[in-house]
């Protein structure tokens, strides 16, 4: 174990910022639920009601100047509903993975329907995980591991198993 690494990272975990999650869902009820679940897991949460708004927040919207990208680079995880009118969660996932600035951000897809072809399609496109709705606290706890892996500036460090 690299003692110097773990002590500096644990400092970051103690005094560092909470992971910041972007949650996307067209249902207001589900946005409130996921927000509470994430806050209970000590995450900072931003919600968006659809794909285009989420992309705007990430600085990937159409006609957006580059200087807006700095706020979005602090996102540690994106969690999105699959079934949304207009842009689906899958289409949002693709756009994120196509972006040179955002493709490293882990994306989790949620759906109320357990459809294997849908799940495979999302995983193949690079989704970190696929979760069935309604989400519970135990599901959200599992997401923490994905987020910690991505904490900056230690991108390359392994999940410390917290």
């Amino acid at each position: 174990m690299a003692v110097s690494y773990s002590s500096s990272s644990s400092k970051e975990m103690d005094y560092g910022e909470e992971p910041h999650v972007l949650a996307v869902d067209d249902s207001l009820i589900d946005r409130k639920l996921i927000e509470k679940l994430l806050k209970n897991s000590a995450c900072k949460v931003t919600t968006a009601e659809n794909g285009p708004r989420a992309l705007e927040y990430l600085g990937l919207g159409d006609e957006q100047p580059d200087n807006l990208k700095s706020s979005a680079s602090k996102i540690n995880l994106i969690i999105t509903d699959y079934c949304m009118p207009g842009m689906t969660g899958y289409e949002l996932l693709k756009k994120i993975k196509e972006s040179s600035t955002m493709k490293e951000i882990p994306v989790v897809i949620m759906s109320s329907e357990n459809i294997p072809t849908r799940i495979n399609k999302c995983l193949e496109e690079g989704a970190q995980e696929f979760m069935l709705k309604p989400l519970q606290q135990s599901d959200v706890k599992k997401l923490r591991c994905h987020m910690l892996k991505f904490s900056k500036p230690c991108n390359s460090r392994l999940c410390l198993g917290r």
């Binding site: 249902s27 207001l28 009820i29 589900d30 409130k32 639920l33 509470k36 679940l37 806050k39 209970n40 079934c83 009118p85 109320s112 709705k133 309604p134 519970q136 606290q137």
Partner: protein
Amino acid sequence: MDVGQLQRRFLDYTASLFREGFLDDQFNQLQQLQDESNPDFVVEIVSLFFQDSEKLLNNLTRALDQQSVDYKRVDAHVHQLKGSSSSIGAYRVKNVCIAFRSYCEEQNIQGCLRCLHQVKHEYSLVKNKLETLLRLEQQILAAGGSIPLMV
């Protein structure tokens, strides 16, 4: 009535709602999310559910009343209602929505109309039950007690 009695009445009522299938475990999840930082969480979510459902039921009634029914549109509304009822644990409403979606797929107008009638009925029942439950909660809090959790 003292706090203990109110709490017992609350627990008995909640247990009956679960037994009769009006609510499922997801409702427990909601109760567990309520805390000092969000003391009105359940009331907020339930109110949103009422608002959302009433809008959807109106939309469904209109959509099924058309000369030429747009089943995709009907299905989209039912999908939304299924989602929100599932998220708060309104088990019976959710189940009617599942059947409703099958009839949409078959473009079966009679089936759809039957389901619409049924879902309205189930919705009004669970609305009533939830309002009673939330009133009991308020009584407990007003008497200085805390809401017992069904674990």
